[in-house]
C-alpha cells in the first residue's frame, strides 16, 4: 500500500522555487534514497515531505492525508524526522531525548507517563543502546547520538521515517550501524526516506532511488535499474566507475 505520495510537487520558498514537477511514492516496508549533488534541493524536498514547508504546487499526502491540512500533532503521529544532529542548548540525557518523541501522543500539560517511559526504554533497548539511557547526549559518540534520534522517531509510532543524511560525519563503523538499523525499520513495515551523498549506501540499503538534480527528477526507480555509472555521472557532473565483487557492487569517482 502506498504510504507517502507526492504529485506534481513544486517545492521551495515563496518567490523562489527550488524544484518542480516531482512525483514520488513510497510504500510501507520500502526504503527510498534521495541522491543528488549539493544544492540540488534534497534538504528542501525533505522539509516539504515532512510538512515543515508548504508545497508551492501539488500535494504531499501520508496515508491518504494531505500534510497541509494536518496539525503539527497529527503530522507527528504519521511522520517522524531524524535530523542531522541533536541540536540544542542543554545536555539532556538520552532517555529524556527519546521521551520527547512522545510529545504528539501526550497531552499539552502531561508529564511523561509510565507507558511513555516504558516505550522510551524499549526503543533504546531495541537499538542496543539501553545502557546509554542516563548519559547526556553530548557525552556519547556521533553514531550513538544518531541512534538516540532514531529511537526518538520510533516512539512517535509513525508510519514513515524521514532521515536527513543519517550518516553524515559518522565514522565507517557507525555508518554501518545506522544503515543496518534503517533496514530493520523497513522490515518492521515502516516507510523510510533518506538522503545521502553516497550512492553506495543507496545501492546497498535502499529499495528505490530518486536522483535529484537542480530540483528536477533525473531518474527514479529500483536501485538495481536506476543506479549505473552513466546516470550517476550525469547526476554529479563527474565520471563514475562501477566495481563488482562478492555479489555486491560499488561506485567510485573515476
Amino acid at each position: 500500500m502506498t504510504l507517502l505520495t507526492a504529485t506534481g510537487l513544486a517545492f521551495g520558498y515563496r518567490g523562489r522555487a527550488i524544484g518542480r514537477g516531482l512525483d514520488l511514492a513510497v510504500a510501507g516496508g520500502e526504503v527510498l534514497a534521495l541522491l543528488g549533488p549539493n544544492g540540488g534541493g534534497k534538504t528542501t524536498l525533505l522539509r516539504t515531505l515532512l510538512g515543515l514547508l508548504p508545497p508551492l504546487a501539488g500535494t504531499v499526502a501520508v496515508a491518504g492525508h494531505p500534510l497541509e491540512r494536518l496539525s503539527a500533532r497529527e503530522r507527528a503521529r504519521l511522520v517522524a524526522a531524524v535530523p542531522q544532529a541533536a541540536g540544542g542548548a542543554f545536555a539532556f540525557t538520552a532517555l529524556a531525548v527519546v521521551l520527547m518523541g512522545r510529545t504528539s501522543r501526550s497531552g499539552l500539560f502531561a508529564a511523561p507517563s509510565r507507558g511513555d517511559h516504558r516505550a522510551a526504554a524499549a526503543a533504546l533497548d531495541r537499538l542496543g543502546i539501553g545502557h546509554l539511557a542516563a548519559r547526556p547526549v553530548n557525552r556519547i559518540s556521533g553514531g550513538e547520538r544518531q541512534l538516540v534520534l532514531i529511537a526518538r522517531a520510533l516512539v512517535q509510532e509513525p508510519r514513515l521515517i524521514v532521515l536527513d543524511e543519517p550518516t553524515a560525519s559518522l565514522d565507517f563503523g557507525n555508518q554501518g550501524l545506522v544503515m543496518r538499523e534503517i533496514t530493520r525499520l523497513r522490515d518492521a513495515g515502516l516507510g523510510v526516506v533518506f538522503t545521502t551523498h553516497d550512492p553506495n549506501q543507496a545501492a546497498r540499503y535502499a529499495d528505490r532511488a530518486l536522483l535529484l538534480r537542480a530540483g528536477r527528477t533525473l531518474a527514479q526507480g529500483p536501485v538495481g535499474e536506476v543506479l549505473d555509472p552513466a546516470r550517476l555521472g550525469a547526476l554529479y557532473g563527474a565520471p563514475v566507475i562501477e566495481v563488482r565483487g562478492d555479489g555486491a557492487r560499488a561506485f567510485l569517482p573515476a
Binding site: L52, A72, R77, G88, A89, F90, A91, A96, T103, S104
Partner: protein
C-alpha cells in the same frame, strides 16, 4: 527504567523550610518557628492562638506578608528565568537580559510619576515588560538569521539601554522630595513596604503565570530544540512560545511591580537547580521555583538584619549572585549547561 531520584526536589524544599524558620527567628522581634506555625495554624482553623498578641501581629501583619512576598518574587523570577532560558535555547538569558525587568521598571516608574495606586503601577509594569520583551524578540527574529542568540542578546542590551534612558528621564522629571526617593529606593529592590494588602496583586499574577509555566514544563524540553525539530515532534511552537513569553513576562512584571528590580535570581538560580536535577525542565522548573523562593527569602532576611538600615535587595543579590555564577562557570567548565 528507574525514575530519577527525589533527592533534588526534597533538598530544595528543605532549604525553603529552613529559610522560612530562619526568617521568622531573626530580626528586631524574633519569633520562634513553633510560635509562627501556631499562629498560622490558628488563622487557618479559626481557633485561638496561644501566643501573645504582639507575636500574632508580627507574624500576620509584618513578617508573614514579607516572607510570603519574598518567596513569591523569588520563585517567580527563578521560574521565569528557567523558562526564558529554555525558550531562547540559551542558558545565559534571563528576564534581565531580555528587557522584561527594565521594561517593567520603566512602566512602574511611570506609574509612580503619575501617582497611580498599586494596581495601576502593576498594570503599567506588566505592559512595559511585555512591550520590551516583544520588541527584543521581534528584533531578534527579524535580524538574527545567522546568529539568533547573539542578535537576541544584543537587541536586549540596546532595548535595555533605551529603557534605561526612559527611566532616567522619569527620575529627572520626578518631584525630587517625594517621588524621586520612592523611585530610587524602589529601583534598587526592596520588600520593606510589603503589607498583607499588597500580597493579592502579587499573588494572583504570580500564581497564574508560574502555574502556567509549571503546567507547560514538560513541553519546554521540546521547545528548547531547534524550531523545525520541535514542530516535527508535533509541537505547535508559535502558540506555545507566545504563551510562555506571556506567562514569564507576567510574573516578572508582577515581581518588579511589588519588589522593584531584583536582578540575578532569574539567571543564577536555574543554574543551581540544573546542578541539582539536570537540564530536564520537568524537574528543573519546580526546583528552580523552590530554590528561588528560598534564595530570595534568605537574601531578604539578610537585607533587614545585616545593618541598622535596610540594605537594598538588588545590591545583595548582585553581591551574592556574581561570585556564585563565576563558581558555577568554573566548576562545570565546558558543558556547564
Amino acid at each position: 527504567m528507574s525514575r530519577p531520584s527525589a533527592a533534588g526536589p526534597l533538598l530544595a524544599l528543605t532549604l525553603l523550610m529552613l529559610g522560612i524558620a530562619l526568617a521568622f527567628a531573626v530580626g528586631r522581634y524574633p519569633v520562634a518557628p513553633g510560635d509562627a506555625a501556631r499562629v498560622l495554624l490558628a488563622k487557618l482553623t479559626g481557633g485561638p492562638a496561644s501566643v501573645p498578641p504582639a507575636v500574632e501581629a508580627v507574624v500576620l501583619q509584618i513578617r508573614g506578608p514579607r516572607i510570603a512576598a519574598a518567596i513569591l518574587v523569588g520563585s517567580a523570577l527563578a521560574a521565569a528565568g528557567a523558562a526564558f532560558q529554555g525558550l531562547f535555547r540559551n542558558p545565559l538569558v534571563s528576564p534581565d537580559i531580555l528587557g522584561a525587568s527594565s521594561g517593567a521598571a520603566l512602566g512602574a516608574v511611570l506609574g509612580i510619576w503619575l501617582s497611580l495606586g498599586v494596581l495601576g503601577i502593576e498594570l503599567l509594569a506588566f505592559a512595559g515588560g511585555l512591550a520590551a520583551v516583544a520588541a527584543v524578540y521581534a528584533i531578534g527574529t527579524a535580524l538574527g538569521r545567522r546568529d539568533p542568540v547573539l542578535v537576541l542578546v544584543l537587541a536586549g542590551i540596546v532595548v535595555g539601554s533605551l529603557l534605561g534612558a526612559g527611566i532616567g528621564l522619569m527620575k529627572f522629571l520626578a518631584d525630587p522630595y517625594n517621588q524621586l526617593p520612592a523611585m530610587t529606593f524602589w529601583l534598587l529592590g526592596s520588600l520593606s513596604a510589603m503589607h498583607a494588602a499588597d500580597l493579592v496583586p502579587l499573588l494572583v499574577p504570580v500564581v497564574l503565570g508560574t502555574g502556567l509555566l509549571l503546567l507547560l514544563r514538560w513541553r519546554l524540553d521540546v521547545l528548547s530544540l531547534p524550531d523545525e525539530e520541535a514542530r516535527s515532534l508535533g509541537l505547535a511552537t508559535g502558540r506555545l512560545r507566545l504563551a510562555i513569553v506571556a506567562a514569564a513576562t507576567l510574573v516578572t512584571a508582577a515581581s518588579v511591580a511589588a519588589a522593584g528590580i531584583v536582578g540575578w535570581i532569574g539567571l543564577v538560580v536555574p543554574h543551581l537547580a540544573r546542578f541539582l536535577v539536570g537540564p530536564g525542565f520537568g524537574r528543573l522548573l519546580p526546583v528552580s521555583a523552590l530554590l528561588g523562593g528560598a534564595t530570595l527569602l534568605v537574601i531578604d532576611t539578610l537585607a533587614r538584619t545585616l545593618a541598622p538600615v535596610e540594605v537594598p535587595l538588588g545590591v545583595l543579590t548582585a553581591l551574592v549572585g556574581t561570585p556564585l555564577f563565576l563558581v558555577l562557570l568554573v566548576r562545570a567548565d565546558r558543558d556547564w549547561q
